[in-house]
């Protein structure tokens, strides 16, 4: 039995599907992001560099850690330069359709995670009203658990972005409505260091991305400029004792 003849449309359609497949494979190629000296200021990147260098040294790799870092920077940027020549013309289409093929999915698990925390100031004392996974502090807990809001918080894991400040202001507005006697709201992230069981435990935690909001005469939350905020002290207590902290 012979197969029916193929129509011109079937050839055209297959050619288009083939182009789509080739494009998807190209975009999905695991090309590294541009790496700079600044990248290695991150504690996670520093630790990864040290671990990989330690392992490669143990099997005879001759580079020092600095040489190894420079080699990574040069190599990743050279690969990225070539990739960008082909990728740049496709970017407008990807932006208009919101499509992509970048699937890192926990490529490097975060060993220095942040726990969001919201506090109100009542009668001169800070009271924790929201802390992730704390059953006694669940104000706006669902909102801060929601993946899209979590993405906004996580986006400020290196430096505070305007969206983070605006999110804190929104939460502060809600808190001022809920607690009319609250005079200030503090939004911050408690950073811890997760170590694997074969590594030395590190119980130290500290607060970062601290934003304080005061009630404006109109009743809305207004962010206090960073210079007027008292510096937060590094904490060394276990993380589950976090309702006090700096004033």
């Amino acid at each position: 039995m012979t197969s029916p003849a193929l129509t011109p449309w079937q050839h055209i359609r297959t050619a288009l599907v083939t182009v789509v497949l080739a494009t998807a494979l190209f975009v999905a190629a695991p090309v590294p992001q541009r790496v700079t000296e600044k990248t290695y200021r991150s504690p996670v990147a520093k630790a990864e560099l040290a671990r990989w260098h330690g392992f490669l040294s143990s099997v005879g790799w001759p580079d020092t850690q600095d040489e190894f870092k420079l080699r990574i920077i040069r190599t990743t940027n050279a690969i990225r330069d070539v990739y960008d020549v082909f990728d740049t013309p496709m970017r407008p289409l990807r932006r208009w359709t919101g499509t992509n093929q970048a699937w890192a999915l926990f490529a490097v698990p975060d060993s220095t995670p942040d726990r969001p925390e919201l506090q109100i100031k009542q009668h001169g004392e800070w009271v924790t009203v929201m802390r992730r996974l704390d059953p006694d502090a669940r104000f706006l807990h669902e909102q801060f658990t929601y993946r899209r809001i979590r993405g906004v918080v996580g986006g400020s894991s290196k430096r505070i972005l305007p969206s983070y400040t605006a999110l804190g202001q929104w939460a502060a507005d809600k808190a001022f409505l809920q607690w009319p006697d609250a005079t200030a709201v503090r939004f911050r992230q408690e950073r811890s260091h997760t170590t694997a069981p074969h590594e030395k435990p590190d119980p130290k935690t500290f607060y970062r991305a601290v934003k304080i909001y005061e009630r404006s005469p109109e009743g809305h939350a207004a962010p206090v400029p960073a210079k007027q905020q008292r510096p937060e002290q590094a904490r060394t207590e276990p993380a589950d004792d976090a309702d006090g902290g700096a004033p």
């Binding site: 197969s3 193929l6 079937q10 050839h11 359609r13 297959t14 599907v17 083939t18 789509v20 497949l21 998807a24 494979l25 999905a28 190629a29 695991p30 630790a47 990864e48 671990r51 392992f55 208009w96 359709t97 919101g98 499509t99 992509n100 093929q101 970048a102 699937w103 890192a104 999915l105 926990f106 490529a107 490097v108 698990p109 975060d110 060993s111 995670p113 942040d114 726990r115 992730r132 996974l133 909102q143 658990t145 929601y146 993946r147 899209r148 809001i149 979590r150 993405g151 906004v152 996580g154 972005l161 969206s163 605006a166 999110l167 929104w170 408690e190 997760t194 694997a196 069981p197 074969h198």
Partner: protein, 327 residues
């Protein structure tokens, strides 16, 4: 060379009953609907859709290059809610199969505007959903279990076969995602040198953990996380093998011990089952929102239409309920 090309063309020219694509359409639509309704329930629509000037989190208006939505629409809270409402309407059209192709294409373009305005709120699963919706926009996913199908039936038209290539592309998309996610797991904790501790480390992240998993530091729990970590890496990197298992399933008459073994053991089902278990465990342990559910919705693409029809008949308890297929 020409013969190979013709074989390639014939492969992408297969047609089949639309039920498998329809199940992807309906299940993905329901998952997206739950996500968008959750936004309203949490009262975060303005936050996520409006620019900062109208009470949202986005700085879209202060950028040199902004998306078309806020070029043509006023930057108000009402516009943000209209944007959300239009997306919900399009999701309903996709789920119920009304003007499915147009709705899927419009959904991709309109959703991309929200992603562009506040890209921090747009996660990998949102991108994957748009990729799949874009494929559905060129498919016959609306030909079964839909208002379109009901309308056609009313006019006396039988269900026709649709192109299978959109379903193959969705399968290809899933394989590509798992494989590239697997080979990019370069973090030391994913490797034997890092004692396969990645899953343990990820579960300690208070921002995404569903519960306090600190007890996993003790045995035998830590060992189980190590098994989970190593299985995840191996399974993701080996995911393209599912193509081979499907090829063996499609060509059972050809020789080969591996083919016989694969078909006897239904290895393709094992690959899919491991994936389903993986996503269900993610849903239990981590707060990743729609990620596991949207992935499972897309898994419907792996189901062959005849398998789906068999299941559908079982659900209806009607052995003779299969719709006639046009030649």
């Amino acid at each position: 060379m020409m013969q190979r090309w013709n074989q390639w063309v014939r492969f992408w020219s297969h047609t089949e009953h639309p039920i498998s694509l329809a199940v992807v359409r309906i299940s993905l639509g329901l998952v997206l609907l739950s996500d968008f309704l959750q936004m309203a329930w949490l009262d975060v629509v303005t936050l996520l859709f409006a620019p900062a000037e109208a009470g949202g989190l986005s700085n879209v208006l202060s950028r040199e290059s902004m998306g078309w939505w806020y070029q043509v629409m006023p930057a108000t809270e009402a516009t943000a809610h209209l944007h959300w409402a239009l997306l919900v309407g399009l999701i309903l059209m996709i789920t119920f199969g009304a003007f499915t192709r147009t709705a899927a294409l419009a959904m991709v373009l309109l959703w991309a505007q929200q992603a562009d305005a506040l890209n921090l709120s747009d996660r990998g699963i949102d991108t994957l959903c748009r990729n799949v919706l874009l494929i559905l926009a060129f498919s016959g996913a609306g030909r079964w279990g839909s208002i379109e199908a009901w309308w056609r039936k009313r006019k006396g038209t039988t269900i026709s076969k649709v192109s299978a290539w959109p379903r193959y592309l969705i399968i290809g998309q899933l394989v590509l995602m798992y494989f590239t996610a697997g080979i990019q797991k370069i973090g030391f904790h994913w490797t034997p040198m890092g004692h396969f501790s990645a899953l343990y480390i990820a579960l300690q992240d208070a921002a995404i953990a569903r519960f306090d998993w600190s007890h996993l530091r003790n045995q035998p729990w830590y060992f189980l996380t190590q098994v989970g970590t190593s299985t995840t890496v191996v399974w993701q990197i080996a995911y393209p093998l599912v193509f081979l298992w499907y090829w063996y399933k499609r060509t059972p008459d050809r020789p080969g011990r591996l083919r016989a073994f694969s078909n006897r053991m239904h290895l393709h089902l094992w690959w899919i089952a491991i994936g389903a278990i993986f996503h269900l465990l993610l849903a239990i342990t981590l707060e990743l929102g729609i990620f596991p559910w949207a992935m499972l919705a897309m898994y419907a693409a792996f189901i062959e239409p005849k398998e789906a029809m068999w299941a559908w008949r079982r659900v209806r308890g009607d052995e003779s309920s299969e719709q006639p297929l046009a030649a």
